[in-house]
Amino acid sequence: MVFWLILLGMTLATLAFLALPFLARARDERRGDDVAVYRDQLAEIDRDLGAGRIVAEEAEASRIEVSRRLLKAAEREKEAASDAPGVARGRRTAAVAFTILALPAIAAAFYYRLGAPWEAQPRPAVEAKAPAGLTLADMIARVEAHVRDNPSDGRSYEVLAPVYMRLGRFDDAVGAWRKAVELLGDDANRQAGLGEALVGQTQGEVTAEARKAFEKALALDADSVPARYYLALAAFQDGRREEARQKWTGMLASAPSDAPWTAPVRRALAEMDAQAATADPAAPGPRASDVEAAARMDQGQRNDFIRGMVDRLSDKLKQNGDDPEGWARLVRAYGVLGETGKAEAATADARKALGDSAVKLARFEDALKAAR
C-alpha cells in the first residue's frame, strides 16, 4: 500500500511540476537574443582597442561587420514582435490535457508490462523463518566464503563439489574437484567425481579428458562404479559397442543384489540395443549402427554417407554453435573427406562461435588436438 502511494506521489509531483508553467501568469519575456550577443561583440572590440590588442583600422572594420549583423538581428526582432505571440487558449488547454492524460497513461502502461510490484512488498516470512534459517544457497555461500578465507582447505572443496554437481553448476564442480585432487591428492572417488563433472559439462559426452580421470579412478580402485560405468559409455560413444556391452554386463554380473546402481546400467544396455534397432537422430556422434553400415560400403558410398552426416552436423552447429566437441568432429570430418578449405572455415567458425568462452574454446582446441 505504502509502495503504491509512493508511486502515486511521484506521478502527481511530476505532473504538478510540468503543469507549473500553465498556472503561472503568462509573462512574455524574451530572454537572451542575438542582439545582446552582437552588442557584446561591439563592446569587446572597444576593450581590445583600449588594451592595444588591435589597431584602429582593424577595429573599425570589425565594428562595421558586427554592426551589420546587429542591424539584421534587430530587424528580425521587430518582425518577430509584430507577429502576435500566439496565446491561443484552446491550444494551451489541449497541451495541458495532453500532459495530464498522456503522462500517467504511459507510465502506468509501461509499469504494468515491466514492473514487479509484488517484489516491493516485504518478502513473505517463510524464508526468514526457514528451519535453522538456512537455504541451500546460503549454505553454499558460507562454504564458498570459508574456501575463500582458507584456500588450502581441500575438504571444503570436496564438500562443495557434489553440491555443485546437483545444482548443475558443472564448471564450478570441475574446478572444485580439481582443487580437491590438488590439495588432498589422488583418490578414486575424487577422480571419478571429476570425470562425472566433466561429462556434465559436455552434456553427456565422455571426452578424452574425462576418460583419463575415470581411468585414474579405476587404477586406484578397480571397483569404482562410476568409473566403470562411464568408461563403458565412452566405448559406446566411440562406436565400440561390443566392448561397452561387455563392460556393462560385467558390472551387472559382479553387482551385489541390492546395489542401487544396477538400474541405470540396465537402462544403458537397453538403450544401446534400442538405438541399434532404430537410429536416434538426436544422438550426438556418429551412431554405432551408422559406423557399422559405413564399414560395409565402398569408398564412394562411404564418402556420400559421411558427407550426409557432416551436413547434418554442420546444420546443427549453425543453429546452435555452443558445442566445442561437435565443432571438433566437424573439422575432423572435413579433414577425412579431404576438404581442407572447409575444415579451415569450420575451425574459424568454431572459434567465432565459441569465442565468448575461453573454457569452451580450450575444449575445442583440445578435442581437435586429440583427433589428430
Binding site: 509502495f3 508511486l7 511521484m10 506521478t11 511530476t14 511540476f17 510540468l18 507549473l20 500553465f22 503568462a26 512574455d28 519575456e29 524574451r30 530572454r31 537572451g32 537574443d33 550577443v37 557584446d40 561583440q41 561591439l42 569587446e44 572590440i45 583600449g50 588594451a51 592595444g52 590588442r53 588591435i54 589597431v55 584602429a56 582593424e58 572594420a61 561587420e65 549583423r69 528580425r76 507577429d83 500566439g86 496565446v87 491550444r91 494551451r92 497541451a95 498522456a102 504511459i106 507510465a107 509501461f110 509499469y111 515491466l114 514492473g115 510490484p117 517484489e119 516491493a120 512488498q121 544457497a137 546460503d138 564458498e144 566464503a145 575463500r148 584456500p151 564450478d172 567465432k352 569465442g355
Partner: protein
C-alpha cells in the same frame, strides 16, 4: 521496494520525455511562452527522476540486493564498496542507465544555463534533446532493463569481471560518457537551428561552451582509458586501435574539428553549413560508437545476429536520429546564406585546413573500424585491421596538422601573412632543431623518431609563440608584458595549453615507442634483471589474500647506481567467483619515465616469466592529454565575446596606451 521505485522513476522519465518532445516544440512554433517553458520544466523533471532511478540502482548494488538480476550478474557481497558502486556501470544495463542519466543531466544544464539563448531556440533544443532521451529510455526499458527481478533470490552474486575491478574503471566510463553524451547538445542545437531556420554567428557562440565541455571530458576519458589499458592489460601498450577505443576517438576527432569550425562561425559567420553538419556528425559518431560497443557486433557479427534485439534497436535509433537529422540538413542547408569572405591564407583558412585534415583522419579511423565488421557481415571472413593500417594512414594525416598547428593562431583573420608568421615561428623552428640535436646526441637513431621529436618540440614552442607575440615579450619592458599577459583572454591561454599538449603527447609517444626497452625472460628468485640503467633483483613470490581474490605477489628490489630505490610488486590475482585470473603490473615512476613489471605464470622449474619495460617519458602521453583538457577548461571559462577581424596590434606606441 527501492528497485521498484527506481524502475518506476525510469518509466516516468520516459513519459516526461515524450511530453517534452512535443509540447515545447508546439510552443516554439506558435510563440507561446507557457508551452515553451514546459521544455525547461521537463528537463528538470527528467533529471530529478533519473537521479531517483540511478540512486535506487546504486542502493541495490550497495546493499547487494541479488533479487535484481543485474546486481546478481555483476556484483558480489564481498567486493569493496567502491567496486560495488562502479560495477553499476561495469555492465551493459547499468552503463546504459549512466548514459541516459548524463543525457538528462545535460538537458537540465541547458535548462539552467541556457538563459542567454532565445526562448524559442532553447525550447526547440530541449525538445530535440528529449527525442534522443525518449529513444534511449525505451531502449533500456525494452531491451536492457537494469531493474529486472529474479524470482528466486540467489545468496551470492557472480562478481564483477575482475579486469574491471580497478580504480581506473571507476572514473573512465563516466568521463567518456559525459564526452559522448555532451555532443548530444551540439546535435540538438544543430537540429533546432535547422528547424528554426536561423543560423548565425550568435548560434556558434551559444553552442560553443557545450562543445568545449563535451570535448574536455572526452579528452580526459580517452586519456584515462588509455592509461587504464596501459597498466591493467599487463603488456604496457597504451593504445591498441581496437574498435572500442576507435569508437571514442572518432567523436573526439570530429569534435575537435567542430571546436575549430565553430570558432570561424562565431567570429566571421563563415563555414555555417559545414559547422552544422559537423555538429550532427560528431554526435552521430558518438551514437555509432555506442552501437559498436553495445550491440555485440564486436564479439562477433554472428553473436549479434543470434540475439539481435539490442543491436537492431540501436540501429533503428541510429537510422532515425542520424537519418532524420541529415535529411533535415539536406532540406534546410541550401537556404542558408554564406557569411564572411576570407583569403586562403588567413586564420579562417588555417582552420579550414585543420578541419579538412581532422575529418579525413576521422574518416580513416571510421573505415578502419567499420570495414572489418561490414566485411564479416557480408562474406563471413574475419579480418583484423590493426595498428599497421592506422599507423600508415593516420600518421601522414597528422604530420601536416601538427606542422600547421602553431601557424593557425599567428595568422590574422580575413587575410594572413604567412611569411610574417613563419618569421615569428623562427624560434619554434629552432626549438625543433634543438630537439632533434638533443635526441640525436642521446639516442642517435632512428631518423623517423628524431624527426618526430623535432616536430614535437616545434609544436610545443610554437604554441607559446602566439602568447609571446601578443604580450610583446622581449620587445616591451618585462612588466608591461606581464601586465598584458594577465589581460589576455583566457581562450588565448587555453589555445596555448591545448596545442602544447598535442606536442607533449607526440614527444611521449615517440620516446616510448622508439627508445623504450623491454626484457622478457624466466627468472628464479635471486636473479637480477638489468634494464636501462636500473637493476631489478627478484626477491621471491608469495601468496597474499585480497577481499575477493587471492594473489601471488612477486617482489622486485629496484637498484639504481648501487642504491636501492624501492620495491616493485607485480602480482597475479585469482578471482574464485568467476574462475578468472588477472595480472597486476607494478609501476615505478622515475622522472617522466616509468619502470613497468608484469609477471606471468610460475613455471614447473620454479622460475617465473617476467616482463620488464623501461618507458622513457611515457607519462608525457597522458600529461599532454591533461594539458589539452586544461586548455579547454581555460577556454570554457573565457566568457567574453570575441569578434571578427582584429589583427594583432604591432604598433608599439598604441600598444602602450593604458587600457
Amino acid at each position: 521496494m527501492i528497485p521498484e521505485i527506481g524502475h518506476y522513476a525510469l518509466i516516468l522519465a520516459l513519459a516526461v520525455s515524450l511530453v517534452q518532445s512535443v509540447v515545447p516544440l508546439v510552443g516554439a512554433r506558435t510563440r507561446d511562452p507557457v508551452l515553451m517553458d514546459v521544455g525547461t520544466k521537463g528537463a528538470y523533471a527528467q533529471f530529478a527522476l533519473m537521479c531517483v532511478s540511478f540512486g535506487a540502482l546504486a542502493a541495490a548494488y550497495g546493499q547487494s540486493d541479488f533479487s535484481v538480476a543485474a546486481v546478481y550478474e555483476n556484483s558480489h557481497s564481498m567486493m569493496p564498496a567502491i567496486y560495488k558502486f562502479t560495477s553499476l556501470w561495469g555492465n551493459h544495463e547499468g552503463s546504459m542507465l549512466l548514459w541516459v542519466m548524463i543525457l538528462a543531466l545535460f538537458g537540465a544544464l541547458v535548462a539552467a544555463f541556457g538563459a542567454n539563448v532565445p526562448t524559442s531556440l532553447k525550447a526547440t533544443v530541449l525538445a530535440v534533446q528529449s527525442w534522443i532521451a525518449a529513444f534511449f529510455y525505451l531502449f533500456i526499458l525494452v531491451t536492457s532493463n537494469p531493474f529486472m527481478r529474479l524470482a528466486v533470490v540467489p545468496a551470492q552474486g557472480r562478481d564483477l569481471n575482475p579486469i574491471l575491478q580497478d580504480p581506473g574503471l571507476a572514473i573512465h566510463p563516466p568521463l567518456l560518457y559525459v564526452g559522448y553524451v555532451g555532443f548530444s547538445i551540439s546535435f540538438s542545437f544543430a537540429v533546432a537551428a535547422l528547424i528554426e531556420g536561423r543560423i548565425d554567428a550568435a548560434w556558434a557562440r551559444w553552442v560553443r561552451p557545450w562543445v568545449l565541455l563535451a570535448w574536455i571530458f572526452l579528452t580526459l576519458g580517452i586519456a584515462m582509458g588509455s592509461y587504464w589499458a596501459y597498466y591493467t592489460l599487463g603488456w604496457g601498450g597504451w593504445w591498441f586501435w581496437d574498435p572500442v577505443e576507435n569508437a571514442s576517438f572518432m567523436p573526439w576527432l570530429a569534435g575537435t574539428a567542430l571546436l575549430h569550425s565553430a570558432l570561424v562561425m562565431e567570429k566571421r559567420e563563415a563555414l555555417k553549413v559545414w559547422t552544422i553538419l559537423l555538429a550532427i556528425l560528431t554526435f552521430s559518431l558518438s551514437l555509432i560508437g555506442t552501437f559498436i560497443v553495445r550491440s555485440g557486433v564486436l564479439t562477433s557479427v554472428h553473436a549479434f545476429a543470434s540475439d539481435p534485439a539490442r543491436g537492431v534497436f540501436i540501429l533503428v535509433i541510429l537510422l532515425l536520429l542520424i537519418g532524420g537529422a541529415l535529411a533535415l540538413y539536406a532540406w534546410r542547408a541550401p537556404t542558408l546564406r554564406q557569411g564572411g569572405l576570407f583569403a586562403p591564407i588567413s586564420r579562417e583558412g588555417a582552420l579550414v585546413l585543420n578541419n579538412l585534415l581532422l575529418s579525413t583522419a576521422c574518416a580513416t579511423v571510421f573505415v578502419g573500424t567499420l570495414y572489418p565488421l561490414a566485411l564479416e557481415a557480408v562474406t563471413g571472413a574475419k579480418i583484423s585491421v590493426g595498428a599497421p593500417f592506422f599507423n600508415l594512414t593516420f600518421a601522414p594525416l597528422f604530420v601536416p596538422i601538427l606542422i600547421a598547428t602553431p601557424f593557425g593562431p599567428l595568422l590574422a583573420w580575413k587575410r594572413g601573412d604567412l611569411a610574417g608568421a613563419s618569421q615569428r615561428l623562427m624560434f619554434a623552428f629552432l626549438a625543433g632543431a634543438l630537439g632533434v640535436l638533443v635526441a640525436f646526441a642521446l639516442q642517435g637513431k632512428p631518423a623517423v623518431a628524431l624527426a618526430a621529436i623535432g616536430l614535437g618540440f616545434y609544436v610545443v614552442a610554437g604554441s607559446v609563440a602566439e602568447l609571446i607575440e601578443r604580450v610583446g615579450l622581449f620587445r616591451v619592458p618585462f612588466t608591461t608584458a606581464m601586465n598584458r599577459a594577465g589581460g589576455l583572454p583566457r581562450s588565448t591561454w587555453g589555445t596555448m595549453f591545448a596545442h602544447a599538449g598535442l606536442g607533449l603527447t607526440l614527444i611521449g609517444i615517440v620516446c616510448e615507442t622508439a627508445w623504450g626497452l623491454e626484457t622478457i625472460g624466466a627468472y628464479k628468485p635471486g636473479d637480477t634483471i638489468p634494464i636501462g640503467g636500473y637493476e631489478l633483483k627478484y626477491e621471491g613470490i608469495a601468496p597474499r589474500q585480497g577481499p575477493n581474490f587471492t594473489a601471488d605477489v612477486a617482489s622486485f628490489a629496484v637498484v639504481a647506481g648501487g642504491a636501492r630505490i624501492g620495491i616493485m610488486e607485480p602480482s597475479k590475482r585469482a578471482f574464485a567467483a568467476r574462475g578468472m585470473n588477472t595480472s597486476e603490473a607494478a609501476l615505478m615512476t622515475r622522472g617522466l619515465g616509468q619502470l613497468y613489471v608484469a609477471i606471468g605464470d610460475v613455471n614447473p622449474d620454479k622460475t617465473t616469466t617476467v616482463r620488464v619495460y623501461w618507458k622513457p617519458f611515457v607519462l608525457l602521453i597522458w600529461i599532454g592529454g591533461l594539458f589539452m583538457a586544461f586548455g579547454g577548461t581555460l577556454s570554457l571559462s573565457d566568457r567574453r565575446l570575441r569578434v571578427g577581424a582584429p589583427k594583432l596590434a604591432r604598433n608599439r606606441a598604441r600598444a602602450e596606451t593604458p587600457a
